[in-house]
Symmetry: C2
Subunit: 201 residues, 2 copies
């Protein structure tokens, strides 16, 4: 779009919006126009919410979660069971598990997975802090809730190694048929795992 039709400020807004995941160059234009039209109701509040987030959001020094408090509200919540620690790759995974609401445990966010080919080693993710959290005592079980990918499983094995000898139970998520899933659409690996881990009906 030539600069001459709507000013550099709008152009800059569109360019930045296009970098938001879920928006491309085309939908960024549409979003910008919608925001400008709803200046008072949406654009203004969004601008200040973002400025506030820039100002206040930080990474929790204990678990790696993002929050406006450090340690974060998960780490300081007294109602949570501190004897169970769920290890996840990313904050998004923490959020997903919290939405499921199945465990009232604490978390540890790795911030990535081991990936030697990409040059990601043990020092590049939050592994040391995990080991020292467990070594400090009080944790009975570490649940490895990493993705079922090659990198995720490599990382899980490495963590199990590092935690051996600390007297802590290390578990992983069950493999099986997703709830609501149709067998016909599932891969062989998942079906084999589901058969192997069959439970009494």
């Amino acid at each position: 779009m030539p600069k001459s039709i709507s000013g550099p400020e709008i152009e800059r807004l569109i360019q930045l919006l296009a970098k938001v995941p879920g928006l491309g160059p085309r939908s960024a234009r549409r979003a910008a126009l919608h925001l400008i039209k709803k200046k008072e109701q949406l654009l203004g509040p969004l601008a200040s919410a973002m400025a506030e987030a820039v100002d206040k959001v930080r990474v929790c020094s204990v678990c790696g979660n993002v929050d406006t408090a450090d340690p974060c509200s998960v780490c300081t919540d007294p109602r949570r069971d501190g004897t169970t620690l769920i290890v996840v790759e990313d904050v998004a995974d923490l959020w997903a598990l919290e939405r499921a609401g199945a465990m009232n445990a604490r978390f540890h966010v790795l911030g990535g997975t081991l990936s030697p080919l990409d040059g990601v080693g043990p020092d590049d993710i939050n592994l040391k802090s995990l080991v020292s959290r467990v070594a400090a005592g009080g944790v009975n079980e570490v649940i490895l809730a990493v993705n079922a990918t090659v990198e995720g499983q490599t990382t899980a094995h490495y963590i199990t190694d590092q935690l051996s000898g600390l007297g802590v139970k290390v578990t992983r998520l069950a493999h099986g048929v997703p709830v609501g899933g149709e067998l016909d659409y599932l891969d062989e690996g998942t079906l084999s795992a589901a058969l192997k881990s069959r439970t009494a009906f």
Copy 2:
């Protein structure tokens, strides 16, 4: 997501992002997390770009375009041909036509279409200002670049009525096969129109 895992500021950011067209509740969470992770490179600049837009962007009092200047840069651009006026429904249409770059004309944004069923009458869209712009003289041709919908066409007829007697040529966009389009996928109306308006090869 319970409030206790990441603070009300992040929750508010997600809620507002979910109102951006193209983002739903799920992708808003993903977007918020991405923005927080790229605080310096993306969230900060985006917050200030939005604040600047809130501050500076206004609707052009002449044509209805959005810009940081009023009259907007399209209206004040001396290189544009002021004798041709392209009437569009929305600023997005103005942008789309400008991207096509086919005409070096000025624009008039209606900000909607006549729609008696929805209670949108001639006074609810920028029609009066169009008539007075044309009546003021200097315009030779008004191109009605409204959507090929019932409302768009109703509006086009109404505008033609209003402009009759002002000594101005009123034209509309051609109907036909979209460039790159396949006949097999086109509706009968478009094909009939394309046949009727066939041109010498």
